[in-house]
Subunit: 314 residues, 2 copies
């Protein structure tokens, strides 16, 4: 049996990314109901909101689901307590030190996966006792690693040292890409961008339409002196990226960024001034579909591709 | 039959990258003799040197081989005339306008593949009449596209519009990665970095040892205001990259770069002041082997991985 399916007790080793402003209970429940693992993205939620989403998600699915918690966010500790109190069995942590909460979560019987982008943090996460690693490549949307290692290169590197299952993330939005990830050694995949353009995603419709509309080369990793983030090349991006290219300091970049820009773009739908976090693979996304249709399509294409590959033996 | 094998009349759809300072006749002949397609990298050769390499390659193999010609290099036109005169049947062009020489080469019966990194140039190349596209991702070594699209994302994008076979390049140095590329829709692969660390590569031994020694995160794409290039993070890199991060102009960066730095690093073996062009996948390369062993290993792992994947159907 597939180790990720086994670990989370799910049908397909497809994890939906717990993205800010996109991954509420509706998306998480829809993905879990369709046989994947839905994640509530708590990075854009206050504690009360998170409680509400967890309770609604429980009512909407009897399948396992999890919560994504970016460890550097102000509410991280409160969110971790809420997850335990509300009886959520799975936590995906990112953007922070895995040693901080993993032992406590494990003690409470909660399964923990941690997002990494290099070998050093993989080791740290495994030392802390995580159950799985999410290895996220440069092509992924939103916040990203400093090394800029791509999914194609990262998965074999991490797999070669991993003592726990490895979930590939970044650039995966189709069954073919899932086959690619599995052939590189991944045990499962995490899919973000494709689910942004789903009917159940809480992203603003303007943002969903943008994800469908953009083509190749229309996202870019910028603001490396603050924290690298992959954005759609809109007007806000052009402004901040020009300053970055001109050698702008962390302080200058942070001042331009200001506060609440991801919400403005992804949730309020301001395509000009908002921060629009999405992966490169958006260039291949051409439709908004339900999470169930997306998963069905991915698994169908995955199996078809596997059958087709047999002919390509040398 | 595989379309790339068919096009070039080779056993395996493995093209060896025509890399400057690394891909002389010895490497090209060894790769062609082992069933792949060897390419002489003419970008670091004077016309006389290219003639010598072509003649030696012909003596060393009766299998097809080709010449890589970066179209923006000063000797491009002379090199193209030489290729025709010496009866080489295959040309890979890169870094320049495919419309310039493709029709002339095709008229002479020469097969042409062109390296691209986005849809726009794929169309241009196909309009010019190329026989194949090399789609090269962000993780590749040396000069690279401005869009920073990774191999994982680029292959399906290019395949979806291609009317000619697509060769995937960037991040591929193993049989597993070759399976990944083929599952993304590639018809063949181009492998560069892995062949830098081959016995037949003309790279300086210091550089070969560096390729074997470096781990993850030890290459980086820099000098984006001149032309993006992926280098080992050595002392020269640190200096030029600092200036780039501080907003240095094209002129400032070009002045630091100076002339002959790639030769200094890759051919003369100066690991401190030289420019060391290599792909991210170097982080997974751990040995120097003969080209024949490398190809045998890749094909073995490729077939094993295909067999193994059958078990992962859902």
């Amino acid at each position: 049996m597939n180790s990720i399916c086994n670990l989370f007790n799910i049908k397909y080793p497809i994890i939906q990314g717990g993205m800010i402003w996109c991954s509420g209970w509706e998306l998480a429940a829809a993905v879990s109901n369709a046989g994947g693992l839905g994640l509530i993205g708590s990075g854009s939620m206050n504690p009360e909101v998170l409680v509400e989403h967890i309770r609604k998600c429980k009512k909407a699915t009897d399948k396992p689901f999890g919560v994504n918690i970016p460890l550097l966010y102000p509410h991280a500790e409160e969110h971790i307590k809420i997850v335990e109190k509300e009886g959520v069995g799975i936590v995906f942590t990112s953007a922070g030190n895995p040693a901080k909460y993993t032992p406590w979560l494990k003690e409470k019987g909660i399964k923990v996966a941690h997002v990494i982008a290099n070998k050093k943090f993989s080791k740290k996460a495994m030392d802390a006792g995580v159950d799985a690693l999410v290895a996220e490549g440069f092509e992924a949307g939103g916040h990203n690693g400093y090394e800029e290692t791509t999914t194609m290169v990262m998965i074999p590197m991490i797999k070669s040292m991993a003592t726990v299952p490895v979930i590939a993330a970044g650039g995966i939005g189709s069954g073919s890409a899932m086959v690619a990830a599995m052939s590189l050694g991944a045990d499962g995949v995490q899919i973000g961008s494709r689910f942004v353009a789903s009917t159940e995603s809480s992203a603003h419709n303007n943002f969903k339409k943008t994800v469908v509309a953009i083509g190749d080369g229309e996202t870019y990793l910028t603001m490396k002196r603050v924290v690298p983030v992959r954005l759609v090349k809109n007007e806000f991006f052009n402004r901040v990226h020009q300053v970055a290219m001109d050698g702008g300091s962390k302080e200058e970049l942070s001042a331009i960024l200001g506060r609440g820009r991801a919400k403005l773009g992804m949730f309020t739908g301001d395509l000009i001034e908002g921060e629009l976090e999405i992966g490169q693979v958006a260039g291949s996304i051409t439709s908004i579909k339900s999470a169930a249709e997306i998963i069905e399509e991915i698994i169908q294409e995955y199996n078809d591709r596997l059958d087709d590959l047999k002919k390509h033996r040398f």
